[in-house]
């Protein structure tokens, strides 16, 4: 656990010095929200109808930016080799990177969320926070695996979204449904199956990505 923490601290130190990733993620998420509001405003009667989708598209697109940098930053100066040579289990590296990705995406989400509620003029619901965390966990679990996978791939910035989006589709659907349900004040009993699906996705893909990570960083 201490070793996982060390990897997270390393990524945090890196971001504290450059802030390259966090800045671009935040600005991109904001742009996505604005672009969506502009392009839908004229045709949608109640903006509340599209609000959950806009939120998750902003989160996943911004998260994608972060994920695509995650392992490229490591490989740039040969850091990845150093990390792999460390006398630690590969699963430590996976969970360290996964948690640091989760942290950065969550920080971006925390900054975006108040702006989103203001721009769409929606009431803030505290229940939304656990849903956002669950959705982001699933997204970063698969995302970290594919981020490591695309390091040695040509046109990697393009490959990551192509690989990632079809796989995270169920998590995205469940997260959007739950967000919409909470914003509309739906009863929990109508949404439990979506919650189960989201939690199930997180558990299954954390396990699968953890097992597959060994094969990805083999060299």
């Amino acid at each position: 656990m201490g070793k996982v923490w060390a990897i997270i601290l390393k990524d945090l130190a890196l971001q504290r010095r450059s802030r390259e990733m966090l800045n671009s993620m935040f600005i991109f998420a904001l742009i996505v929200i604005l672009v969506f509001s502009f392009s839908f405003e004229l045709r949608v009667e109640r903006v509340k109808q599209i609000a959950p989708g806009v939120l998750w598209v902003a989160f996943t697109f911004a998260g994608m930016l972060g994920l695509s940098r995650s392992f490229i930053l490591e490989s740039d100066q040969g850091c990845l080799d150093g990390l792999l040579l460390c006398p630690v289990d590969r699963s430590v590296i996976y969970f360290g990177k996964m948690l640091s990705n989760l942290l950065f995406i969550s920080i971006t989400e925390a900054i975006i969320l108040p702006l989103y509620f203001a721009l769409f003029n929606l009431p803030f619901k505290l229940l939304l926070l656990p849903i956002i965390v669950l959705g982001t966990v699933g997204f970063s679990a698969v995302g970290t695996l594919f981020s490591a996978m695309t390091v040695h791939v040509r046109a990697r910035e393009v490959m990551l979204p192509i690989l990632l989006f079809p796989i995270v589709m169920p998590a995205l659907i469940a997260a959007v449904k739950l967000t919409g349900g909470i914003l509309d004040g739906q009863a929990w009993s109508e949404m439990t199956h979506w919650l189960q699906l989201l939690v199930g996705f997180d558990v299954i893909f954390l396990a699968v990505s953890y097992m597959a990570f060994d094969y990805v960083v083999e060299e």
């Binding site: 695996l145 996978m149 791939v153 597959a212 990805v216």
Partner: protein
């Protein structure tokens, strides 16, 4: 060429060629005209067969990828790649024939029905698989990363199906526990078509694997 030189593959091609002809006769001549939907319903036999074969091919690709990761033998990667390519064609055929049937019966080319949407996502996953392979240099690395993606992608398929099923369903459920809505002649035609398409899949796979072996030999000769 004397008959002694005939390979198992030749036999397979001949049998699937004959079976396909018989299947066409069954679909257009033997199977009764559906009472409500009319002749359009005849697309159903090839539609179900193509979809089933597509899913079977992707299951084979998943197993071959797992075997590759465990054993590291290049031929399993060849099986996975060949099976994905063929499977993708069958899934595409399933989607297109389903789309034609949907236009005739539901009045729209596309509905966001669970099975349609799952097939579309499935198609995307395996199209991404082929794109990924093109972007990786080095044979073993390509085989390894592609195998990982194929395994992860296949795990995602049932979850996708569940997620999408909870929207709404207009797709007909042909087989229910209580029994099926098909007349005996229709059922026999369907079973024959499914078997024929499965046979066709294995024929195509054997040709595709031979192509794979030949291209590997060519690579080695060039070196």
């Amino acid at each position: 060429m004397s008959w002694r030189e005939l390979t198992f593959r030749d036999l397979l091609s001949a049998v699937s060629g004959v079976a396909m002809t018989v299947a066409l006769c069954l679909v257009f001549l033997v199977a009764p005209r559906e009472a409500i939907m009319g002749d359009v319903q005849r697309v159903f036999y090839f539609h179900v067969s193509a979809a089933w074969t597509g899913y079977l091919a992707l299951l084979v690709a998943f197993l071959a990828s797992l075997l590759y990761l465990l054993r590291r033998e290049g031929r399993w990667d060849g099986v996975a790649l060949s099976s994905v390519e063929i499977g993708l064609i069958f899934v595409t055929e399933g989607i297109i024939s389903g789309s034609i049937w949907a236009k005739a019966t539901w009045g729209a080319w596309w509905t966001w029905d669970p099975r349609l949407t799952t097939s579309a996502v499935l198609w995307l996953i395996y199209a991404s698989y082929l794109t990924l392979r093109q972007a990786i240099e080095g044979e073993t690395r390509r085989a390894r990363l592609a195998a990982v993606y194929s395994v992860v992608g296949f795990v995602a398929v049932p979850i996708n199906f569940m997620a999408i099923r909870w929207w709404r369903t207009v797709h007909p459920v042909v087989f229910e526990r209580a029994g099926c809505h098909l007349s005996p002649a229709m059922l026999a035609t369907l079973i024959f078509c499914v078997a024929t398409f499965t046979l066709l899949y294995f024929t195509l796979l054997s040709y595709r694997l031979r192509l794979q072996r030949m291209s590997e030999q060519l690579q080695q000769l060039r070196r």
